[in-house]
């Protein structure tokens, strides 16, 4: 029994990590590659969830809603970039923070006035609301397996795109030397708009995948954006590989902390003390990890090689 719960928690950790990766991939594109601090990244995550919720209610199909909501979130990101973000690239990070914090407030209020203060639940089709028996005795919710599959597919797609396509080459080149790429006749402004939209789509996808587990609600983005920054700091700012590995690491550490810390503490202290201490410490665990990594390896675990 001990091994089976270990295996299930491993899958749970993997699933949390994959979700965090989808979010941090978008943040890596904007913060790491375009050098733009986007606090409103979480707002795009929320928008994705709300688009998907509405489309699910209209079309009656969650999967169709996801397929439609992804380009919609990308479009929202594209418009945001053209209207606001584009004018901020040349400014310093504090201006980025101020402007995107303002964007969070605006988007939250817009969502409030369209969808109301209450969250929206997204119903899943029957076959996703069930469980799969992976091995004898090991049963896992189907939808969480789907999250893992979609996340891994997105990670593979991103890897191929950034490293093995012309667009990816341009993104990397634009990040290294914006002026030079522009001088070579590449429309750098459109390229960055596209990258921003891609980041938005990834964040939106994460929102669409989490909403059927929790719900689409105002403020869901602000709750998770801090963890996402922790991921890209641990992974090494600007590194897609770092973001992927750090996201998995954090997902696993958080899940294992919540699962086994109280039993671990009970070995060294009284049951009651362990009950109080374990939830507090497991909530801090990822920040402790970040502090340790910042102390010994400030550039993160896998910093990008180009800089």
């Amino acid at each position: 029994m001990e091994t089976s719960i270990l295996f299930i928690q491993l899958l749970n950790g993997l699933q949390l990590g994959i979700l965090l990766f989808l979010l941090s991939a978008g943040l890596t594109l904007t913060f790491g590659i375009m050098d733009f601090v986007n606090l409103a990244h979480g707002a795009l995550y929320m928008l994705g969830a709300f688009f998907c919720a509405t489309l699910t209610l209209y079309t009656g199909s969650f999967l169709l809603a996801v397929i439609l909501a992804i380009p919609l979130t990308a479009l929202a990101g594209f418009i945001l970039e053209k209207l606001v973000v584009q004018h901020l690239y040349q400014r310093d990070h504090l201006d980025h923070v101020l402007a995107t914090f303002g964007l969070i407030l605006c988007i939250d209020t817009i969502v409030h006035s369209i969808w109301g203060p209450e969250g929206i639940a997204i119903p899943l089709p029957e076959f996703l609301n069930s469980q799969v028996e992976l091995l004898p005795g090991i049963v896992f919710p189907t939808f969480r397996l789907l999250i893992i599959a979609i996340g891994l597919a997105a990670a593979a797609g991103l890897y191929v795109m950034v490293n093995h396509t012309r667009v990816g080459m341009l993104i990397r080149a634009g990040a290294s030397n914006r002026t030079m790429v522009g001088a070579l006749g590449i429309d750098i402004s459109t390229l960055f708009s596209g990258v921003f939209a891609l980041g938005a789509a990834l964040a939106g996808l994460a929102g669409m995948l989490i909403a059927p587990i929790t719900e689409a609600s105002i403020g869901m983005g602000s709750d998770i954006i801090i963890t996402t920054f922790v991921v890209i700091i641990i992974g090494g700012v600007g590194s897609m590989k770092g973001a992927f590995l750090a996201a998995l690491l954090i997902g696993l550490i958080d899940t294992f902390g919540r699962s086994f810390l109280d039993d671990l503490f009970k070995l060294i202290m009284s049951g009651e003390a362990a009950e109080t201490a374990a939830p507090a410490v497991s909530a801090m665990l990822i920040y402790i990890l970040m502090a340790v990594i910042l102390a010994f390896r400030p550039q993160g675990l896998f910093p990008p090689l180009t800089r």
């Binding site: 203060p117 969250g119 639940a121 189907t142 709750d223 919540r258 939830p279 909530a283």
Partner: protein
């Protein structure tokens, strides 16, 4: 400078005269301030209470002791400081005769002094933190709800009656969460095989995958949870997705109510059907006042009233019993207090009495979540688990 001071004094004097004349007017009517949450994500609770208060006023033709009632609704914004400001305004500026409402324990604790120091009656229509039932009890404080510990204590008793021997417990890691867990532990006779207090507050944990996996592996015969607000929907969904309905039956307090059930139904969360909860009241309680309340509420608003609404409805009826007893002579506080102490009004929970601390001594029922004849999801009374139950803090009250 002197001129300015004079001007300010004059202005202040005129201002207080204006307030003085307002109070004069107030004697011709009964003024009730009702504090609840009308903004933020919890606004749906406040809306339900507001609907119930208005229905109560409609049922009594907006009259108490022959005088018309003026109702002033106020929003606490889900924050103690905002609730206290709203209370101060009701007490000082509007000079109300009764302040009722209060969903949240921390808002009530922050606001109670403003009301009681001004010599007004304070009626809690939900919050029941242990201090107001114990050491901080007050002759002018009454509750139409319960003390926080009572409902989970009833749950512990329900589990005993159902023969549950081992239990897994989950609640958010904050004051009320710990109270609820302590309440169940106080009466539950079986073994608690696992307990998770999850992160709460601004970035509350809403993904319970790890905890549910542990609960399942623990081999417990049931799972007890307390997840108020939006965490309730998240928990139930994941409980459903994990397919635990048959292996790990669900027992809740303050998690599933008439506000969350329609949403759960919309989301197809069938695993909630058949789960158990405890409460002092139920929409199907066979009491004439309750039948009228539930039927009229459903006709007007299309949904079952929540327990928040039931308590709000009762708070207006309690006030009416006091004002009727003195024929509208609102200066006779002693007679009004004595009248309220009798709990002599048609409560939607049926007959009950007040303890020395002015908390209800009442029955608690176990309820099962069912689908009604029209396909709505609601709760149905299973049995009485605590009869005429008084809270444990009454002994600390010096009244």
């Amino acid at each position: 400078m002197n001129k300015l001071r004079t001007a300010v004094t004059v202005a202040a004097a005129i201002g207080s005269m204006a307030i003085g004349s307002q109070t004069l007017h107030a004697a011709d009517q009964v003024k009730i301030g009702f504090i609840t949450t009308l903004t933020t994500g919890a606004a749906s609770i406040g809306k339900d209470q507001e609907n119930a208060v208005n229905l109560a006023l409609e049922h009594i033709d907006n009259k108490m002791g022959g005088k018309p009632v003026e109702l002033i609704m106020a929003d606490d914004g889900f924050k103690p400081e905002v609730g206290k400001q709203a209370t101060d305004k009701l007490v000082k500026q509007d000079d109300v005769d009764f302040v009722a409402g209060y969903i949240w324990s921390h808002v009530l604790l922050a606001s109670r002094k403003s009301v009681l120091d001004a010599g007004k009656f304070l009626i809690s229509a939900n919050a029941g933190p242990s201090p107001v039932a114990g050491k901080l009890c007050h002759e002018n404080f009454f509750s139409t709800s319960w003390q926080n510990d009572q409902t989970p204590m009833a749950m512990g008793e329900t589990l005993n009656k159902k023969g549950v021997k081992s239990l897994y417990v989950m609640a958010p890691n904050y004051a009320a969460g710990k109270d609820m867990v302590a309440g169940v532990e106080r009466t539950f006779k079986g073994e608690i095989v696992g307990k998770d207090l999850t992160k709460w507050g601004k970035d509350a944990q809403l993904d319970f995958s790890a905890e549910l996996a542990k609960a399942k592996a623990s081999g417990a015969e049931g799972i007890f949870v307390f997840y108020p607000g939006k965490a309730a929907g998240a928990f139930i969904k994941q409980y459903e997705q994990a397919g635990l309905k048959d292996s790990l039956p669900l027992y809740t307090v303050f998690t599933i109510d008439s506000l969350s059930l329609p949403k759960l139904k919309e989301g197809g969360m069938k695993s909630v059907l058949g789960s158990s909860m405890t409460q002092f009241w139920s929409p199907d309680l066979d009491v004439p006042a309750n039948k009228k309340f539930v039927a009229d509420f459903r006709e007007k608003h299309g949904t079952y009233p929540s327990f928040y609404a039931a308590q709000a409805y009762d708070s207006i009826m309690l006030i009416k019993s006091a004002v009727d007893a003195v024929d509208g002579n609102l200066d006779d506080m002693d007679a009004m207090r004595a009248a309220m102490k009798k709990a002599d009004f048609p409560s939607v929970r049926g007959e009950f009495s007040y303890g020395n601390n002015h908390m209800p001594i009442q029955n608690f029922y176990s309820r099962t979540v069912v689908e009604d004849a029209d396909g709505n999801w609601t709760t149905e009374i299973d049995q009485v688990v605590l009869e005429n139950h008084q809270d444990v803090y009454a002994a600390d009250c010096s009244l």
